[in-house]
């Protein structure tokens, strides 16, 4: 399970970093979303991964992390998801407005019809 989760985080994070460094603004946005997914999973994994363990104390079971999953990271992830979602939406609006002004979806507003991999500034 640890291997699966860490591979998933790695794949999401790696793709996210690659996309953030791309010259098109929509790719940057997707990269930011993927990065935030990777981080959310990462926060989860920090509370020690467990299967079938409850986060809330049940009567008659010893109250330690051997018998329960840590509720704290879950609360943190919930907050992080909400904030990340709102920020992504805001970023999308800015991106659309920027595209309207610049006439291209280059991150620096450089004119279109160039090699897409050319990240050079105007």
């Amino acid at each position: 399970m640890e291997v699966v989760v860490s591979l998933a985080i790695g794949a999401l994070g790696g793709s996210g970093v690659w996309l953030v460094l791309r010259p098109r603004s929509f790719q940057v946005l997707l990269g930011l979303s993927l990065l935030s997914y990777a981080v959310n999973l990462f926060i989860f994994s920090m509370g020690s991964l467990s299967i079938d363990a409850e986060p809330i104390v049940v009567a008659g079971r010893v109250g330690d992390l051997l018998h329960y999953t840590d509720p704290m990271p879950q609360a943190l992830v919930l907050t992080a998801i909400v904030i990340g979602f709102a920020m992504t939406a805001l970023c999308l609006v800015v991106l659309l407005a920027f595209r309207g002004f610049a006439g291209s979806d280059h991150v620096d507003g450089a004119p279109d019809s160039r090699d897409h991999d050319d990240g050079s500034r105007a």
Binding site: P73, F101, D108
Partner: protein, 548 residues
């Protein structure tokens, strides 16, 4: 201590702006006058509360702890008002009041919801200074940033949107790093409360220390992005210089949130057994701070637009503070805290002043970036370009003509803010720099002489002052001194008054330099020895049943 806690005063700087913002959103957008009144009142109330807190904390020498959910410290949320927090609160709310008054003249009409966003931003900054746990620091950071995105884009236009998009992207990545750092620190220590972490940090077994340091480094990276340390700070100048004047004036405090967080972490977590800041962090801060200061100095000389000059002044101030924090000397930290307040006020004043000074300037050529234009010193080439302006006629006409009052005010205010930014006597920026340089050049006991980094710091601080003076004198000659036959700047009272009051605060700091330095010294001492903070938070008692 209980007096502060029971008065609920500690939570007021967060609650008041939030309530004001909610009230303003409920009011219709067309009712601008009412909105402006609510906003200004809320900012004024925050300033009053901040001053009251600062005075109480300083007089009692105690730390005010407030438990919003009435749970004891490591489990519930805690807000803490100590000397450093209240000092930053006073600074933020004073700039907030000045900017919200300034915005009532013009900027609140440039789009919807300026004033509510502004109050939310104040709430975020205040919360970041008050909170005593890592996750709420993240939440308040996000509140502050979310509002700042809206404020930066206020007024729209392609330049703002481009700078805004870059600003958003870099800050979202910064938040990602923040979360990774928080998660790693939580994973190792099992707590998020500052004081509890400080207690547990020493007891972490050796095998876990690597993970702990990695988490701390990633977290610090997020703060360094916010504080605009050299390789991480290229977003700052385009973003701040394209923001509207009152928004930019509060943005001046936002970089200081990063510095505050680093100072707080440095004092609580990243310390060795003797209470000195961790050597790796200190080395990074010192090297990065010196690089930032050098970058800011070069940028100051290269900038022509006033808003860019002010932005680079913020970069230079960040660099100075980071490097000063890297030395880890209490006396130097005291000078640096004094400098922090004054340099922020100076940069904010310059942002507010940039608009009236430049509004009557010869229209800029619509180039891409100001820095890319082949400008000659003093705008000489522009004189030749605008050949239809007959300089001789103007000069003759100027003799014996009465200056308009606004021109006199703008000119004097410009001179005052230039002295503040450059740190020249007789204004208080000079005293702060002298305090820092005196502390660093004083021979430490047992040391043979002053080490090389200290000399580099001294040289760069002096050079950055020279660069700021050069750059501002050049702008002053171009915009205010050289006759160009333009009309006198228009300035309303609500725009002039905040500038005048901020400058007056700079002058007052000269007169009250002794108590101010004493306060800064006490603050630095409490940062250097964090036992008081930890003890106050961990011993905070919950309120019995019926509450306050």
């Amino acid at each position: 201590m209980s007096g502060i806690a029971s008065a609920h005063l500690v939570v007021a700087p967060v609650v008041v702006p939030l309530a004001a913002a909610a009230l303003m959103v409920a009011l219709r957008e067309r009712r601008r006058a009412e909105r402006a009144v609510v906003s200004v009142l809320s900012s004024a109330a925050c300033l009053a509360v901040a001053i009251a807190l600062a005075v109480t904390v300083d007089r009692d020498g105690a730390t005010g702890v407030y438990l919003p959910s009435n749970w004891p410290a490591p489990f519930g949320i805690a807000l803490v008002a100590d000397r450093l927090s209240t000092m930053m609160l006073v600074l933020t709310s004073a700039l907030g009041l000045a900017s919200s008054v300034y915005a009532t003249a013009r900027w609140q009409r440039a789009g919807v919801h300026f004033q509510p966003l502004f109050q939310v931003q104040l709430m975020g900054i205040h919360g970041a200074f008050l909170t005593a746990d890592l996750f709420n620091l993240f939440v308040f950071f996000e509140v502050m940033l979310a509002a700042s995105y809206g404020l930066l884009l206020h007024g729209s236009g392609p330049r703002r949107l481009r700078a805004g998009f870059h600003y958003l992207a870099i800050n979202l990545i910064g938040s990602t790093l923040f979360l990774v750092g928080v998660a790693m620190l939580y994973g190792v220590t099992g707590t998020l409360n500052f004081a509890d972490m400080a207690v547990k940090f020493g007891a972490i077994p050796a095998p876990d220390r690597g993970l702990l340091h990695a988490g701390a480094a990633i977290l610090s990276l997020a703060f360094l992005v916010k504080a605009a340390m050299w390789p991480l700070g290229f977003w700052l100048v385009p973003a701040y210089s394209s923001a509207s004047a009152p928004a930019a004036a509060t943005f001046a405090v936002m970089t200081k949130v990063g510095i505050y967080a680093l100072l707080r972490m440095g004092s609580l977590f990243f310390v060795d057994a003797d209470g000195n800041v961790d050597r790796f962090l200190a080395g990074t801060l010192l090297a990065g701070g010196l690089a930032t200061l050098a970058f800011g100095t070069l940028g100051l000389v290269a900038s022509h637009k006033l808003a860019r000059v002010a932005s680079f002044a913020i970069v230079a101030s960040s660099g100075t503070l980071l490097a000063a924090a890297g030395f880890g000397l209490p006396a130097l930290t005291a000078g640096a805290l004094f400098y922090l307040v004054l340099s922020t006020v100076a940069a904010a004043t310059l942002f507010l002043l940039a608009e009236p000074v430049e509004q009557t300037a010869v229209p800029e050529p619509t180039g891409e970036e100001e820095g890319a234009l082949p400008l000659l010193p003093f705008g000489l080439e522009r004189r030749e370009l605008t050949a239809d302006v007959n300089l001789d006629d103007d000069e003759r006409a100027l003799v014996g003509r009465v200056f308009p009052a606004t021109a006199v005010f703008v000119g004097l205010a410009f001179v005052g803010s230039a002295l503040m930014v450059a740190g020249l006597p007789p204004l208080s920026g000079f005293l702060a720099k002298v305090a820092m340089l005196a502390a660093i050049l004083a021979p430490a006991e047992g040391a043979a002489g002053v080490p090389a980094p200290a000399w580099a710091f001294v040289a760069l601080v002096i050079l950055s002052g020279l660069a700021a003076a050069l750059s501002l004198v050049r702008s002053g000659i171009r915009h205010l001194w050289a006759p160009t036959g333009r009309p006198a700047p228009r300035l309303r009272l609500v725009e002039g008054a905040p500038i005048a009051i901020l400058l007056a605060a700079g002058v007052a700091a000269v007169v009250a330099a002794a108590p101010a330095m004493r306060y800064a010294g006490d603050t630095a001492a409490s940062l250097h020895d964090a036992r008081g903070y930890v003890g106050a938070v961990m011993s905070a008692r919950v309120v019995a049943r019926e509450g306050s």
